[in-house]
């Protein structure tokens, strides 16, 4: 630094320009990570396939153009009170499967789950071309059982799949109850009668891979009122 050049406001010696840049870049990184509640930048194990990502973004846009807030859930754009909002797109991970059922897992990061509340969450399932006539499918939402190794069923929906295409299911309450847990992971079980084919695409890279879209909002900071 030039001799005796000090910051007039705080008295700290002025930084050499090169060092100033490094300090500012470090400040920018620290500021972004802090606001995203991330201890460090995330390492991406395997990003979703481009096809699945583009299809999901298209579906979300189509759904938003005619969606209405689900009853019982806070409408997505309720008075935001200036709180930071998140939109999370989570693609399914394949779980265990049998000849007539398949498990899909959807993980949510601790950082987001720990600091937000769910406004809305929707499960998107694409049915490949079912056989002639309606195909019965049972969709169960499972959660880890805190007292034992099994999973507990939190909701069950029976669908009659008439033709191939996307179906959506409101999973808001299930995801909301997950957000308070140690491992925020939603498990979906799809079951068809014996002899029927699995209704969802078989491989991960298929652009019609199941996904969940969740809208969350930062929790209002806990205010302690002193009298």
């Amino acid at each position: 630094a030039a001799k005796d050049t000090r910051c007039p406001a705080c008295g700290v010696a002025a930084l050499a320009p090169g060092m100033q840049r490094d300090v500012l870049l470090a400040l920018a990184k620290q500021s972004i990570l802090a606001k995203l509640h991330l201890p460090a930048r995330p390492n991406i194990p395997q990003p979703p396939s481009r096809g699945a990502l583009l299809t999901a973004l298209r579906r979300m846009r189509a759904q938003r153009s005619d969606t209405t807030a689900f009853p019982g859930m806070l409408p997505a754009r309720s008075a935001g009170m200036g709180l930071q909002e998140y939109e999370i797109l989570s693609f399914a991970e394949s779980g265990s499967s049998t000849s007539h059922s398949v498990h899909l897992h959807f993980r949510f990061s601790q950082e987001v789950a720990g600091s937000t509340e769910i406004l809305q969450a929707t499960l998107y399932l694409f049915w490949a071309a079912p056989g002639p006539g309606a195909q019965p499918v049972t969709v169960r939402l499972l959660q880890p059982n805190p007292t034992g190794p099994n999973m507990t069923v939190t909701s069950e929906t029976r669908l009659e799949v008439q033709r191939s295409g996307w179906t959506t299911l409101d999973v808001g309450p299930a995801v909301q109850s997950l957000f308070g847990q140690e491992i925020p992971r939603l498990t979906v079980e799809l079951e068809v009668p014996e002899g029927w084919e699995s209704p969802v695409p078989s491989d991960h890279s298929d652009s019609h891979w199941p996904f969940v879209v969740a809208q969350a909002r930062a929790r209002t900071p806990h205010r302690v009122h002193r009298r």
Binding site: L24, K29, I32, K35, E87, S109
Partner: protein, 114 residues
């Protein structure tokens, strides 16, 4: 507010762009490619205290002259952001989910003296 020029000494807004590729974050931040963080720098002598930036009206300038004349406690004030904008980010979290969020108050739009 005022943008800093080459020889600005008074309180102004200094442009500063953070290129995510330069800091090796382009693999987990999908959009944007960087962001205009900007920051405030410069002097805030007593008679400039309390005005947004330097674009002060005539009335404020007269008031400042009076303040400077009184110079009760001849201390400088600080050059701080007076207007900021959110930063919209689309990024992968560590479970490879895609998250979109608007982080409030991340981009400094203008500066002024406290």
């Amino acid at each position: 507010g005022i943008d800093c020029g080459r020889d600005s000494r008074m309180c102004c807004r200094q442009e500063f762009f953070v290129d995510f590729k330069e800091i090796g974050w382009e693999d987990w931040i999908i959009q944007p490619e960087g962001y205009h963080m900007n920051y405030c720098a410069g002097l805030c002598p007593l008679y400039m205290a309390g005005v947004p930036g330097l674009a002060a009206s005539f009335h404020t300038a007269v008031l400042n002259r009076i303040k400077a004349a009184s110079a009760a406690a001849a201390v400088d004030s600080c050059c701080v952001p007076t207007q900021r904008r959110p930063l919209s980010l689309l990024y992968y979290d560590r479970d490879s989910n895609i998250v979109k969020t608007d982080i409030p108050d991340m981009i400094v739009d203008s500066c002024g003296c406290t």
